[in-house]
């Protein structure tokens, strides 16, 4: 890419908006999955009995099982949320930047 087109793109308000909002969004979601996962790991390391609590009195199923399944589902949902936002708002901004350049 030529330096002048780099400068042209950088000067566009849409570009700055894209970079800012995508960065904030991506790092927020990253922080979220890190908190979910390391929260789980640290719970196991420090208070493993919590996850061994039955879901209801007399039940064999422990809350660790729905929690584990929820973490798996949350990983899928978070990637889905990212794709949805990226395919919509971020791609629209990217297209606008490309069109502006022409």
């Amino acid at each position: 890419m030529q330096q002048d087109s780099v400068d042209a793109i950088k000067a566009q308000p849409q570009y700055q908006k894209l970079v800012r909002s995508r960065r904030r969004f991506a790092w927020t979601l990253t922080a979220l999955i890190l908190i979910i996962y390391f929260g789980f790991i640290l719970t196991i390391a420090f208070v493993p009995t919590v996850l061994g609590t039955p879901v209801a009195p007399g039940a064999v199923t422990t809350i660790g099982i729905p929690i584990g399944v929820l973490i798996i589902v949350s990983a899928f949902v978070l990637t889905g949320v990212f794709v949805f936002r990226a395919n919509g708002r971020f791609d629209a901004l990217t297209r606008a930047i490309q069109e502006d350049l022409e």
């Binding site: 780099v6 999955i33 196991i44 390391a45 493993p48 061994g52 399944v69 990637t79 794709v83 990217t94």
Partner: protein
């Protein structure tokens, strides 16, 4: 004893793609009688994959075809292929075995493998698609010295691939001995030769479609198994758990975290390696270049996360159901595991299973689907190994031909024909090497190798990659220092850990009257030290670097950043 063998499983499971460890596969394996239905079904799979390779070979001309399947794979197809790389024989047989033996602990592992994917999605998937061409080293050295950073990235790729490949080949040989009754060396040679054929003739196109075929077969087979198993409990998980707790020697303990994750430092270190190691595996990262643009790269991670998550939930059901259902089949157990009335003794449920806990999924297939389904699942397990090994070899060959040859030795002046020829020769040599090492490591303890591959991927590949994408002030010297420090510290700390120092080099100590193998350090996985060290050296050396080249590299970040964010100028992109 049980605890030690679990540790073996744990180490082997450090990789999703690695083959099994555990008592059955890490030690000597009793050869079984030849399993004919499995052999026939495997032959059908081989014929199908060879036709795919023939078809792929006729559309593989350019370097782009060879490395990236021409860039024409859709997000959905790539998602399947990626999940295929992940849904390995280790996940399938190892995790079901782990759940069978210790219950909830198996779920902890599955989760560790899965949560790396969102990170890949948010931080590197579309970025590397926009910046790279054929390998992740294209991205690592985008604005840095081609010679130094590319060489370093290629070397650490090859280290990851080599350790992975050895573990795969050894696991393949032992597993196939168990499943098919073939001799160890025959199994290793078969895997090596078939993998060479796929990659040399069909390149990434064949490798991808073989992986997709296998992923579909494995997902269908596992879905059927989980469905059939759950139907035995009228689809009530509570009923399944209740009966499992009654039968299992550890009782209610299988419903909660057990002995696998105990001290916080090792737990976090393992978590880091699992999460960020995935984001540094060369054969996985290479798949992002097979899709046409960033949008498809994104979609492929979404589909892959869905398939992998679904698969791990199936594994959880299969492992728990097996506790109840296998106990109803005394013929799966060794004679000494049975009581006088022919029932399975409670304390022999885990230890007495013929072939070890790695055979849990296979035995359950037999229990719910008979001989034919057993043959199908065994053939799928073999196919899984083949597909994964092919992907690894292609990644290794690309590091040699695209990174080391075309960009370092020939300094970008090679022609495409030569580059493809080199990559085919590299594949051939890697294949021969994999066969030779697979045979010579037969009786070695290889459980540490996959852990090491993941640790190097997290501490050398991922750290340099992610910093080069996001940090303006990084320089060649910083990248080189961080990458080398990450690579060396991961290797050294692994050598000093129990898995190598104790289990391989034979250092032992007396603990509570028993002689147990020990490490020089208590850390089982180096990531918690090696990753921060690598980041620290990237940071400090880059900041201290005031060479004229460093100034230029910082200026070059702007152009890299614009391309990374917008995809303008990306390889094969539709932008103009």
């Amino acid at each position: 004893m049980i605890r030690l063998s679990r540790l073996g499983i744990l180490l082997a499971l450090l990789t999703p793609v690695a083959l099994l460890a555990g008592p059955a596969v890490s030690g000597a394996v009793d050869r079984q009688a030849i399993n004919w239905p499995a052999v026939y079904m495997f032959l059908v799979f081989v014929l199908a994959t060879l036709s795919i390779t023939y078809w792929a070979a006729r559309r593989t001309y350019s370097a782009k075809d060879f490395y990236t399947a021409g860039g024409g794979i859709t997000g959905f197809q790539n998602g399947l292929a990626i999940s295929g790389d992940f849904m390995s024989a280790a996940s399938f047989l190892g995790i079901t075995g782990l759940i069978f033996a210790s219950g909830y602990d198996g779920l902890i592992y599955s989760i560790g493998f899965l949560v790396g994917w969102p990170v890949i999605m948010f931080l590197i998937a579309e970025q590397i698609r926009n910046l790279g061409k054929f390998t992740f080293a294209d991205v690592s050295c985008y604005r840095f010295s081609q010679t130094q950073i590319r060489t370093m990235a290629a070397v650490s790729s090859l280290v990851v691939v080599a350790f992975y490949l050895i573990a795969q080949m050894v696991g393949a040989g032992k597993l196939i001995q168990l499943l098919f009754g073939l001799e160890y060396w025959m199994a290793v040679v078969t895997v090596g030769l078939l993998m060479m054929i796929y990659v040399i003739f069909g390149g990434m196109t064949a490798t991808t479609w073989v992986q997709i075929t296998k992923a579909v077969l494995l997902l269908s087979g596992a879905s059927f198994m989980a469905y059939a198993a759950l139907s035995a409990f009228d689809f009530s998980p509570e009923a399944m758990f209740r009966q499992a707790v009654e039968i299992h020697p550890e009782g209610l303990a299988i419903m909660a975290p057990g002995s696998l994750v105990t001290d916080p430092i090792n737990a976090i270190s393992l978590g880091l390696a699992l999460m960020f190691g995935t984001a540094g595996l060369p054969h996985i990262l290479m798949r992002f270049f097979t899709v046409p643009d960033a949008k498809e790269a994104r979609k492929s991670v979404f589909y892959a996360t869905g398939f992998i998550g679904y698969f791990y939930i199936l594994m959880f059901i299969i492992g728990f159901a097996a506790i109840v259902l296998l106990a109803q089949h005394p013929e799966f157990f060794r004679p000494e595991a049975l009581a006088a009335d022919g029932a399975v003794l409670k304390d022999q449920l885990i230890k007495g299973l013929n072939g070890g806990t790695n055979m849990v999924a296979i035995r359950l297939a037999e229990a719910v689907g008979g001989d034919l389904f057993l043959g199908f699942i065994s053939a799928v397990a073999f196919a899984t190994i083949l597909a994964v090994v092919a992907g690894l070899t292609l990644a290794g060959a690309s590091a040699i031909s695209h990174d080391l040859y075309a960009n370092v030795i020939a300094r970008g002046r090679s022609n495409e024909g030569t580059e493809i020829r080199i990559s085919k020769i590299a594949t051939f040599c890697l294949g021969l090497l994999a066969i030779a090492l697979g045979i010579s490591f037969e009786s070695q303890n290889v459980a540490f190798m996959v852990g090491l591959a993941f640790a190097v991927a997290a501490s050398a590949n991922f750290t340099v990659l992610v910093t080069s994408i996001f940090w303006r002030k990084m320089t060649t010297r910083g990248a080189l220092a961080g990458g080398v420090v990450g690579l060396i510290s991961a290797v050294v700390l692994t050598v000093l850990s129990k898995a190598v120092w104790g289990d391989v080099l034979g250092h032992t100590a007396m603990v509570g009257g028993n002689e147990v193998s020990v490490g020089l350090i208590g850390l089982n996985n180096p990531a918690i030290i090696a990753m921060p060290l690598s980041f620290f050296f990237i940071w400090i050396v880059s900041l201290l670097d005031n060479s004229p080249r460093a100034q230029q590299e910082r200026l070059a970040f702007e152009a890299q950043h614009v391309r990374c964010e917008t995809g303008i100028g990306a390889e094969g992109a539709a932008s103009h």
